[in-house]
C-alpha cells in the first residue's frame, strides 16, 4: 500500500467578514501519496487556494477558523499547530510556490540573501556552506550563471527566471511535500512548458510529493498522477488522471472538459455550463452543483450527496448512487432547474 504523506480529512474552514461568517471549505477530503503529483482543479472561488493555505498554516489568524477536520502530515495532525511549530515545518518539510513570481520576491534583497533565509531558519550551516548549497540548487532549477545570479536583485531577472528562483527557494531544505499554487498561470506558454518540465524533473530527483493547484485541465493532464476536482468548497470528484479524463463521472467535471475549446468543433458553439458558481453565502441544502446541473432532479435539491466510490474513483453525485444506475441510462435526462 502506498504511503500517504498528507491526508486531509473532513476539513471545514470558516471565514469571518464583518458580522457575517462564511464557510468556503465544507468538508474536504483528499490525500497525497508519497512521490506522486496530486492535482487540485477548480475555478476561482472553489476553495483550492484556501485549502492549500491551511496545509501551510498560512490562513489569516484573526478572520479564519478551522471548524473541524484534521490535516495529517506524516500521520501527525498539523491543523492545530501554533505559529512556532508551523515555522519549523514550513519551508523545511512542506514548501510552497506561489502564482505571482513578480511579487513573491522581496525587491530590496539579493537572491542569495532571500534564499539563505530558510537555511538559517532550519539548518545549521556556515556562510560558505550556505552559499554552496544555494548555488547548487540554483543550478538544479536550470538557472544559468548561478554564481552571479546569487548576488543579483529580483528586478534583474525575467518572469521565468524568477519563478525558477521561487522553485529553488522551495527546494532548498529538500521538502517532502511541495505545494504549487498556479505556478505557471502568470507565465507565457513557452515558459510554462519549461517550468512544468522542471517541476517534473525535480520531483523525481528529490523524491518529493507535489500538490499542484490549478484551474487549467491541460496542466493537470500534463503533470498529475491523481486529480481532485473542487467546486464551491467541496471535493466533487477524485480519480486517477487517465480515469478522470476518460470517464469523468461528475457533471461538473464533464462540463469543464466539454467547455474546453479544444474539445469542440472549430467555430461551433462551445458547450458551456450555465449560470455561475454560488457564493459561499448562497449555498443551501442539496448538491452544490444542482442549480447549474443539467441532470439535476428532486433529490439533488433536497439532499447533499455522499461520496460514492467506484474503486479508486470517487464522485459526489446522486447519479452515481447504485440504485439510480437505470435512470441514467433510460433516455434523455430530465432537467430540473430551480
Amino acid at each position: 500500500m502506498l504511503e500517504k504523506i498528507l491526508q486531509v480529512n473532513d476539513l471545514r474552514i470558516q471565514f469571518k467578514s464583518g458580522k457575517e461568517t462564511v464557510q468556503p471549505i465544507r468538508g474536504v477530503n483528499f490525500h497525497v501519496n508519497r512521490g506522486e503529483t496530486l492535482g487540485i482543479v477548480g475555478e476561482s472561488g472553489c476553495g483550492k487556494s484556501v485549502t492549500s493555505l491551511s496545509v501551510m498554516g498560512l490562513l489569516p489568524v484573526k478572520s479564519s477558523k478551522i471548524v473541524s477536520g484534521e490535516i495529517l502530515f506524516n500521520n501527525r495532525d498539523i491543523s492545530r499547530l501554533n505559529e512556532k511549530e508551523f515555522r519549523k515545518l514550513r519551508g523545511n518539510e512542506i514548501s510552497m510556490i506561489f502564482q505571482e513570481p513578480m511579487t513573491s520576491l522581496n525587491p530590496v534583497f539579493t537572491i542569495g540573501e532571500q534564499l539563505s533565509e530558510p537555511l538559517r531558519q532550519h539548518k545549521k550551516m556556515s556562510k560558505s556552506e550556505t552559499r554552496k548549497t544555494i548555488i547548487t540548487v540554483l543550478k538544479q532549477v536550470g538557472l544559468p550563471r548561478a554564481e552571479q545570479i546569487i548576488d543579483e536583485y529580483p528586478h534583474q531577472l525575467s518572469g521565468g527566471m524568477r519563478q525558477r528562483v521561487m522553485i529553488s527557494l522551495a527546494l532548498l531544505c529538500q521538502p517532502k511535500l511541495m505545494i504549487a499554487d498556479e505556478p505557471t498561470t502568470a507565465l507565457d506558454v513557452t515558459i510554462q512548458a519549461q517550468i512544468l518540465e522542471l517541476l517534473k524533473d525535480i520531483k523525481t530527483k528529490n523524491d518529493m510529493s507535489l500538490m499542484l493547484i490549478t484551474h487549467d485541465l491541460s496542466v493537470v493532464a500534463e503533470m498529475c498522477d491523481r486529480v481532485v476536482v473542487m467546486y464551491a468548497g467541496e471535493v466533487v470528484e477524485e480519480a486517477e488522471v487517465n480515469e478522470l479524463f476518460d470517464r469523468p463521472l461528475h457533471p461538473y467535471t464533464q462540463g469543464l472538459m466539454k467547455s474546453l475549446p479544444s474539445n469542440n468543433e472549430r467555430k461551433s458553439t462551445l458547450f458551456s455550463i450555465q449560470g455561475q458558481v454560488p457564493k459561499p453565502s448562497e449555498i443551501k441544502e442539496g448538491c452544490v452543483f444542482a442549480n447549474r446541473c443539467p441532470f439535476a432532479f428532486e433529490k439533488c435539491l433536497a439532499e447533499t450527496p455522499p461520496a460514492f466510490k467506484k474503486g479508486e474513483h470517487i464522485s459526489k453525485c446522486w447519479l452515481q448512487e447504485p440504485a439510480l444506475e437505470e435512470v441514467k441510462h433510460s433516455g434523455e435526462p430530465s432537467i430540473v432547474i430551480s
Binding site: P144, S158, G159, E197, S218, A221, L256, T269
Partner: protein, 335 residues
C-alpha cells in the same frame, strides 16, 4: 466568402523613448516594429504571441489609443494614422474595443445604464427614449436584463462584467471590434460562455474581429487567420487551420508544441526554447529569434529575413525557406 479588405496595416511602428538622464542616450523600445497585415471584412483575424511581443500595442495603435510612430492604418480607405483628432473620434463609432480586464475597464462610479448610454450619447445616435430601448435590448442580447440597469460594476461577477464590456462595444453596431484578450481573465466555464457570445454577435451583426490573445486553443477555435508576433514583429501569417497543421516558422512551431496536452495519454514532442524573450529595448541583430532558435544559421545573426510566401497566403519570415543561395548572398550584401 467574398473577400473585401476592411483594414490594412502597413509598416506600423510604435517606438517608446525612455530618457536615461541628461547625458546618456535615450533607450528606444521597439514595441511594434514594422508590422504589416490586412483584415478582411467579416473574418476574425488573430494576433498571437507572448507577453511583451507587441500584440496589445498593435491593437491600441490601430485605434489610436496609442499614437503610432510611423506607418499607415487604412480602414475602409481612410488612413487613420494621420486623421485629425475629431475625425478620428467620429470614426470610433465604426471600430470599438473589448478589453482584457473586466474589473478595470468599467468605470466603478458609473451605473450600467450610464456605461451603455455613453457611446450612444457621444455619437448622438437615436433620441433619448430610443436610446434606453436600445440599451435594454443590448443587455438582453448579451444575456443580462433590464433589472441590471441601475447597478454598479462591482455588483457583477467577472463574466457578467465582460458581457457589459462587450455590450458597450457592440451597441453602436460597429463594423470592426478589437478584442484584447477578452477571455483570458475568466474561468474556464465562463470563458466558453463569453466565446459563444462573441461568435453569436459576429453572426448577428456581421462583425469583423481583430482577436488578440496568447491562448492558442481559443485562437484555434474561433479565428480565421492568425498572425504570430515575436518581439514587435510578425513572424508568420496563415489561415488558422493551416497554421496549426503546418507551422513554418521555428517560433510558431515551438509555441504550438508548448501547449499542454489535452489528455494525459497524449504524447507530445516538445521544442523547449532556451532562455527568455529578449528585451525589445535591445533586440538581437538579424532575425530577432536567432538566439533561441534551434535551427539558427550564420545568416540569421546578421540579416533580417523577408517574408517567404507559401500556399494560400501563408507567409513566414525565416531564412530556412530562402533556398536560393544567390539570394542569401544578395541579401548579405545589400542589408
Amino acid at each position: 466568402m467574398e473577400s473585401q479588405v476592411l483594414l490594412s496595416v502597413k509598416n506600423l511602428k510604435k517606438y517608446y523613448e525612455i530618457p536615461q538622464g541628461m547625458f546618456k542616450e535615450k533607450i528606444l523600445v521597439r514595441a511594434v516594429d514594422d508590422v504589416n497585415f490586412t483584415v478582411m471584412k467579416g473574418e476574425t483575424f488573430a494576433l498571437v504571441g507572448e507577453s511583451g511581443c507587441g500584440k496589445s500595442t498593435t491593437g491600441r495603435t490601430i485605434l489610436r489609443l496609442v499614437e503610432p510612430t510611423a506607418g499607415e492604418v487604412i480602414f475602409k480607405g481612410t488612413n487613420l494614422a494621420t486623421l485629425p483628432y475629431d475625425q478620428m473620434r467620429s470614426m470610433r463609432k465604426q471600430m470599438q474595443m473589448v478589453f482584457q480586464d473586466p474589473y478595470a475597464s468599467l468605470n466603478p462610479k458609473k451605473t450600467i445604464r450610464q456605461i451603455l448610454m455613453e457611446p450612444l450619447r457621444v455619437h448622438d445616435k437615436f433620441d433619448k427614449k430610443e436610446r434606453l430601448q436600445k440599451v435594454i435590448s443590448m443587455l438582453q442580447i448579451v444575456g443580462l436584463s433590464e433589472y441590471h440597469l441601475d447597478r454598479y460594476p462591482h455588483e457583477f461577477s467577472g463574466g457578467q462584467r465582460q458581457r457589459i464590456g462587450i455590450a458597450r462595444a457592440v451597441i453602436l453596431q460597429p463594423d470592426f471590434i478589437i478584442a484584447d484578450e477578452p477571455v483570458s481573465a475568466l474561468d474556464v466555464s465562463v470563458q466558453s460562455q463569453v466565446i459563444n457570445l462573441m461568435l453569436e454577435l459576429q453572426k448577428e451583426f456581421g462583425l469583423t474581429y481583430l482577436f488578440i490573445s496568447h491562448d492558442l486553443s481559443v485562437i484555434q477555435h474561433m479565428t480565421d487567420r492568425v498572425a504570430v508576433m515575436y518581439l514587435g514583429k510578425i513572424v508568420e501569417i496563415a489561415e488558422t487551420e493551416d497554421l496549426f497543421n503546418n507551422p513554418k516558422h521555428p517560433y510558431t512551431q515551438a509555441l504550438l508544441s508548448a501547449v499542454p496536452v489535452k489528455h494525459p495519454k497524449e504524447e507530445k514532442s516538445r521544442i523547449i526554447l532556451k532562455g527568455d524573450v529578449p528585451s525589445p529595448a535591445n533586440p538581437p541583430s538579424g532575425c530577432t529569434f536567432h538566439p533561441r532558435c534551434p535551427f539558427a544559421m550564420e545568416i540569421c545573426k546578421s540579416v533580417m529575413p523577408e517574408p517567404t510566401e507559401f500556399e494560400k497566403g501563408h507567409t513566414a519570415n525565416c531564412h530556412l525557406y530562402i533556398k536560393n543561395e544567390e539570394e542569401i548572398k544578395h541579401a548579405v550584401i545589400y542589408s
